[in-house]
């Protein structure tokens, strides 16, 4: 299983790197928010509040749409070709998810680097802990995205997921903290698991590691990871895709 995962991961990563235009646009997009929105936000808040929000936005957008890749593979028959080999079904999922995780790490590192140039100041330990949290969250969301892509009508996948991600990003408080929201919106936002993760991320960037908020964020991430990977594995095991 480990060998199959590694083989598929390498193959997918190479295929991703081959799409140079896609990589460049994927990296530039979040930087726009940082450069063109960040300075406005900095007049009312800190970079340590904004950058975690943009990281969550990036994480949700890029891994939420991961399933789109498998739609193409399903259509070309390439997925089925892999499914008739003895390769572990779990490896077919994990090989992809790991590729998304690596892609996300590169994007987040770039975002943080540019953030630093603009005035972000966060302790290294906080940055690393935050990165770990986001990568686990992103990988889990990617697994869920694949499961949805294989279950759902393929024409509907892009519009539905593209739309579903927007309220999740907004309700997490990615652009403005939910503490500024009216009561009902604040209450509603607790429904989004990503709010908890984002608040933990802000604490970590602020250098506070062992707070209740961080514990809650980690716990939500772990639960989300377990659920997503379980669903993903189920679907890859049975999908007659």
């Amino acid at each position: 299983m480990v060998r199959d995962t590694w083989l598929l991961f390498r193959h997918n990563l190479r295929a991703t790197l081959r799409q140079k235009a896609g990589l460049i646009f994927g990296a530039i997009q979040p930087l726009f928010f940082l450069v063109l929105f960040g300075p406005i936000f900095a007049t009312i808040g800190s970079w340590e509040t904004l950058v975690p929000g943009l990281i969550i936005q990036l994480g949700l957008m890029s891994t939420g749409m991961a399933g789109f890749g498998v739609v193409f593979e399903k259509r070309s028959g390439a997925l089925e070709r892999l499914r008739v080999t003895p390769a572990s079904r779990l490896a077919l999922l994990l090989g992809r998810v790991l590729t998304n995780a690596v892609q996300l790490i590169l994007q987040v590192v770039l975002l943080v680097a540019v953030g630093y140039a603009l005035g972000l100041r966060a302790p290294v330990a906080g940055l690393l802990a935050g990165l770990a949290l986001v990568v686990v969250l992103g990988a889990s969301l990617a697994a869920l995205s694949y499961a949805i892509a294989l279950t759902m009508n393929e024409q509907l996948f892009a519009p539905v997921m593209g739309t579903a991600v927007i309220p999740l990003v907004l309700l997490s408080g990615a652009f403005l903290p939910m503490s500024m929201a009216p009561g009902w919106l604040d209450a509603l936002s607790y429904v989004s698991p990503f709010r908890h993760v984002l608040e933990a991320l802000r604490e970590l960037f602020g250098g506070h590691y062992f707070t209740g908020t961080v514990v809650a964020g980690v716990a939500v991430t772990v639960v989300f990871a377990v659920i997503s990977l379980t669903v993903g594995t189920r679907v890859f095991n049975r999908a007659s895709a």
């Binding site: 892999l82 008739v84 003895p86």
Partner: protein, 246 residues
Amino acid sequence: MINATGLSKTFKGGDVAVKNVTMSVRPGEIVGFLGPNGAGKTTTMRMLTTLLRPTSGTATVAGHDLLGDPARVRRHIGYVSQSGGVSPSVPLGEELHLQAMLYGLSRAEASARTAEVLAMLDLTGMESRPGGTLSGGQRRRVDIAFALPHRPALLFLDEPTTGLDPQSRANLWDHIRRLRAEDGVTVFLTTHYLDEADALCDRLLIIDHGEIVATGSPAELKAGGRTLDQAFLDLTGRSLREEAAL
């Protein structure tokens, strides 16, 4: 090589795609599975290749129990789906190498076998071509190459020549015959072309509405001076020639 008993598939919503199919294929045979569109050919093939779980029935495929040990069945069969499986943007050599390694070959074995399989199918020198740049006939040969790295004893081909020009079809038939002659591969293929069934297959199974309605060699089915098309019409009430024209 294949022994299936009472295979059935009912899809969610109650559509019965395959009803109680019992059949066998002997080692070294080229057997054609002939039937109009929607007769259950692909569904049966997907069940036999572990891709679809039968609603009922049992089968032994390439010496292993289909339901009890699908992983081992996969290790001994090759399968080429109707749509094929060539990624448009990945170089062939790279993709074939991955496929070989997923079948358990070591890196060195996979490289050697990739070259060998490409040579077998007259694709030498095309390693760096992405799938999207191939002609229809070439792509079909690549599809077959993907199914061969692990030297399967049994090869499933779902409509191998549909959509190809006559020359490419004849060329593909030669390759299929050679696989049997040189490597002893047993071939089970679906088709709705009567000329293909006649020219290529030792034995035919005719399926209609999910049930096998006749089996025999092309010569047996043509007994009494009927053409294969007439035999088919008599059995199913439908003409394959119209189907093939679709």
